[in-house]
Symmetry: C2
Subunit: 230 residues, 2 copies
DNA sequence: TAACTTTGTGTTGTTTTAACACAAATTAGA
DNA sequence: TCTAATTTGTGTTAAAACAACACAAAGTTA
């Protein structure tokens, strides 16, 4: 069975959130059969390179970013005719980043890198749209049982930012008071003493931070983050 | 990047349940560096073979079984020195089967195939113990939010069978009355009119079946299976 | 026939969730 | 500078879900 003619790639579905909108990062291919087509950032792994490292490298190379959260999503390999020369199997990774932290810059293989709103993703090369859909579902469900929303926000945020993030990603209304009560009851979000006004008008609000250490500590005591409410 | 020297394999973590005990299927290698060592069933995929098919083929070949449930678990590939000739990346699959339905028979590459209790799994080759641990966690958590326990039981089962399955896999006590109430409230478990006594003594019980069609129908109506209770 | 085993069944107090409104701090504009 | 508009901040209550709990019925074994 060593006559296998298959190559392994990694691809990343990177989500970014800004002003109530959820975005996915795509890059425009410079070379190859799909030159000029938009695809997910990614590429072939090196012989002695761990998978996670390969993703991080590609994200750095193709878009100039370092993500806040990264986990394996799944492996896609049944698109046998993706490339003429050999079959390609791709390990897809799910990633979260705060777009404000970076200026996208396409470096090596990529001609351009761009944020697309999840609601308006163009037809991507390969089976990348399928990957995006799966990742999007993963984001939605994970938001309810793991505190990953914070990886999309600034380190210091208004409570309304967090609330809007949940509303817009989960696409439903949330009772502001119940939401606040629930989140605060976990004890993993800390109120700072900074008060700011960000929007055009309205009462200034306090800034909050996510206390990751507290969360990790609670995890050991069998704490279960869970936001499923009206 | 086409000088990649990496081969792709699939491996399966197959769980079986019988009389209150949870088992994992392992096979004994006949050839190669790890001859005689126990490993998970699996092997290299063929050039034009979808991943899922490869797993099913290997399970058939190496142990003579067809599983009830099969899903991708994750891809393991950082054990760069698993094989001297090339790096191997393995896509692990999570599977459930009712051991009663099959007689294990090692066919081609495997010298033997055997059920090991999860509590007493020997040291397996490669990074297979790590895969088993991850799969075991997946089983435990999935049991609470997806009705997969039925794939481990006979088609017709006593309520106490289901209850014992949950108790033993989740390793905790369950209130028999609350459990029954909750499960029945979903409406996905149907009472048959058959009454049997199976154990040595005691009052005979009714047999139940899992109504998969009803479940699929409920899924469309946003039903959420969920068993998390005392 | 008495002791043992397993199935089957309801009620109640406690906890969690859902629904709901108004005052305080600020800006914008008349 | 006053009024309208905007955003933050805060408690209560009714309804639903959950947890805890015991005893009778149907069979087997000794």
């Amino acid at each position: 069975m060593t006559d296998q003619n298959i190559k392994i790639a990694v691809d990343a579905i990177v989500f970014g959130y800004e002003k109530g909108m959820l975005y996915v990062l795509a890059v425009q291919q410079r070379f190859g059969k799909l030159a000029d087509r938009w695809v997910l950032p990614g590429g072939f792994i090196l012989n002695d390179e761990p998978l996670l490292m390969a993703v991080e490298r590609e994200l750095k190379e193709e878009a100039g970013i370092t993500v806040n959260y990264l986990e394996q999503l799944g492996t896609f390999g049944d698109d046998v005719n993706r490339d003429e020369r050999f079959r390609v199997i791709s390990v897809a990774y799910f990633a979260l980043v705060n777009p404000k932290n970076f200026v996208l810059k396409a470096d090596t293989d990529a001609k351009d890198a761009k944020w697309f709103p999840v609601t308006g993703i163009p037809q991507l090369g390969y089976d990348h749209n399928e990957m995006v859909n799966l990742a999007h579902q993963r984001l939605k469900s994970k938001l309810t049982y793991q505190p990953i929303g914070f990886d999309l926000l600034d380190q210091e945020f208004l409570f309304s930012d967090l609330e809007n993030l949940y509303c817009s990603i989960l696409e439903r209304d949330i009772d502001r008071r119940n939401f606040r009560k629930k989140i605060l009851s976990f004890g993993i979000v800390t109120e700072t003493d900074k008060v700011v006004k960000i929007g055009a008008s309205g009462r200034p609000g306090k800034l909050f931070t996510f206390d990751k250490e507290k969360y990790n500590q609670l995890l050991k005591e069998n704490f279960q983050f869970d936001i499923r409410f009206a």
